[in-house]
């Protein structure tokens, strides 16, 4: 269930819900004039809150640390394939946008979109 290292460039430490120390994989890709921020759930290697449950607060913490304008990034959540026997652990990428109340809206990326993004 360990997330392969090729999913991220660095481990990002963040404060999860109730400020619980938490970790995620982080990869920042600049492509076509856009900045894609990909946060990857680390499952058992994340001692705290999941990237999805932290949502807006994680995006904000990354932008503050990396000096990025939150309104101008494309924020993506990745739940990797962990080679579990359970098939629903398939890799998935979601584009996350936040409304005025910081509530997240999700759009699942197609396999083609993921391929173009990562190649």
């Amino acid at each position: 269930m360990k997330v392969p290292e090729n999913y991220y460039s660095e481990i990002f430490d963040f404060k999860g819900q109730w400020e619980v120390p938490s970790k995620c994989g982080l990869k920042i890709i600049r492509k076509g004039g856009k900045t894609f921020v990909i946060v990857t759930e680390l499952y058992q290697d994340n001692p705290g809150t999941s990237v999805t449950a932290t949502g807006y607060n994680l995006a904000k913490q990354i932008c503050e640390k990396k000096d990025l304008p939150l309104s101008q990034i494309v924020y993506l959540e990745c739940t990797p394939d962990t080679n579990s026997v359970l098939s629903f652990y398939d890799e998935q990428y979601f584009e996350v946008t936040f409304n005025d109340t910081s509530k997240a809206n999700y759009r699942k990326l197609s396999k083609d979109e993921v391929r173009i993004l990562l190649n």
Partner: protein
């Protein structure tokens, strides 16, 4: 100082045999309170709450998502009477943000070594809204014997038979199972209690039947071996979750009194079939726990799984539908895909479908859940199968001289209520 500790009631699943077990969380929490705090405990599942009982401070301990709405309503009643209310327990942690709206204080995390601060704040009228100890686990050796003296024992008795006592030998879990919140609640590191502490706790339990509630005992072979060796002299009979699939450990578990285990049955493989057989080879019964509605299951898969259960000689089976409890991967996945259609926590009982399954409609999954219970117990009822397991444990107790006959004074009562017999 008088502390009123409440365990809220919840609606039991329809059509299933209801047993009220003495709850574990509240008495473990109570053991962490300072010695000068007098505790009065009410489990609302077996007795009514007296909202006018004299007390200084009220604590509401919640384990299940189906308890939280009732817990909030109880808090409202006490707060209307001018009492301060603190919430704790695992479903408080899962539903913390909402719970703060109904609380004077919310305690998140494990209580050992932290309650002096809370009680002092209460006495000084400086109670904080949130006591956040999530992820900051107290040293495991500080977990002492639970306050089982707080139970009204007669209320956990069915027709003269005392219900099992709940007991824990470890916290945390190194597994991150898909629908489970334990790694969020107790951490992703397995934290076994020192065996001498477990023995000290066991020695305080008069009941000769236990439910070892640890998520899985199969996490540290050396500790598990030592634990079972130390449990043998107590001659207790116990239920637990998974035990290590190792002949030596299974043998020790049987000697230590393993009665039956809850074992997840998630596919129709020979591995599962052999796993069940190995428990039986050592005289340990198996209650299969079967989760329905995972994304990789279609209708045929579920029906095939149920057929398989009938082939592998399970002693009991318990079916649940996938339920996206907050702070699980399941919740995150279904939330992102906008597949959760019901957010009423009273319905998060693992018997009611609250999400759109991937390969069938929610109604179809609900039908299959009912079909699973009906089909598995078609030839022999759940009560009858339970009776067979019960008879086995009685026989073993008679062999080793620990059998205690029914309490004749309570044979006409079930969980504190008179049994009304049909003429």
């Amino acid at each position: 100082m008088k502390f009123k500790l409440i365990y809220p009631k919840w609606n039991k699943l329809p059509g299933q045999t209801t047993f009220n077990l003495p709850p574990h969380g509240p008495v473990v929490f109570a053991a962490a309170l300072p010695a000068d705090v007098q505790v009065s405990f009410t489990d609302e599942n077996v007795e009514a709450i007296n909202f006018d009982e004299a007390c200084d401070f009220v604590g509401i301990s919640m384990m299940l998502s189906t308890q939280v709405r009732r817990g909030w309503a109880i808090a409202d009643e006490f707060r209307r009477r001018g009492k301060k209310v603190i919430f704790g327990g695992i479903s408080t942690m899962l539903h913390a943000e909402e719970t703060t709206e109904y609380a004077d204080a919310v305690f998140l995390g494990e209580a050992e070594g932290r309650m002096e601060e809370v009680i002092n704040d209460f006495k000084n009228n400086t109670l904080k809204k949130i006591y956040n100890f999530m992820g900051k686990h107290p040293a495991i050796e500080t977990v002492g014997p639970a306050r089982r003296d707080l139970y009204n024992r007669d209320l956990y008795n069915h027709k003269g038979v005392q219900m099992v006592d709940l007991f824990h030998a470890s916290r945390g879990c190194r597994f991150s199972c898909y629908p489970c919140a334990v790694s969020y609640l107790g951490g992703r590191v397995f934290r076994p209690r020192p065996v001498e502490k477990v023995v000290e706790d066991l020695a305080t339990i008069e009941n000769n039947r236990l439910f070892v509630v640890d998520n899985s005992l199969a996490q540290d072979k050396e500790w598990e071996t030592q634990l079972f060796k130390e449990m043998i002299p107590f001659k207790k009979k116990w239920i637990s979750h998974t035990i290590e699939d190792d002949p030596k450990i299974l043998d020790l578990a049987a000697q230590a009194g393993a009665w039956y285990v809850y074992q997840a049955v998630y596919d129709t493989s020979d591995y599962i079939k052999e796993r069940i057989k190995r428990y039986h080879d050592y005289g340990i019964g198996v209650e299969g726990t079967i989760l329905l509605g995972l994304d990789n299951q279609n209708e045929d898969d579920i029906k095939r799984l149920i057929d398989f259960l009938l082939e592998i000689d399970l002693d009991l089976a318990e079916f649940t539908v996938m339920t996206p409890f907050p702070h699980t991967k399941a919740y995150d996945d279904l939330l992102r895909e906008n597949r959760i259609f019901n957010h009423d926590w009273n319905h998060y009982n693992a018997g009611q479908v609250v999400f759109h399954p991937k390969q069938m409609s929610a109604n179809k999954l609900q039908e299959l859940y009912d079909y699973a219970w009906t089909t598995f117990y078609a030839d022999e009822s759940q009560e009858s199968k339970m009776m067979r397991l019960f008879t086995k444990v009685v026989m073993r107790e008679m062999e080793d001289g620990t059998y205690r006959p029914r309490n004749r004074e309570l044979v006409n009562k079930s969980f504190g209520k008179e049994i009304i017999r049909k003429p």
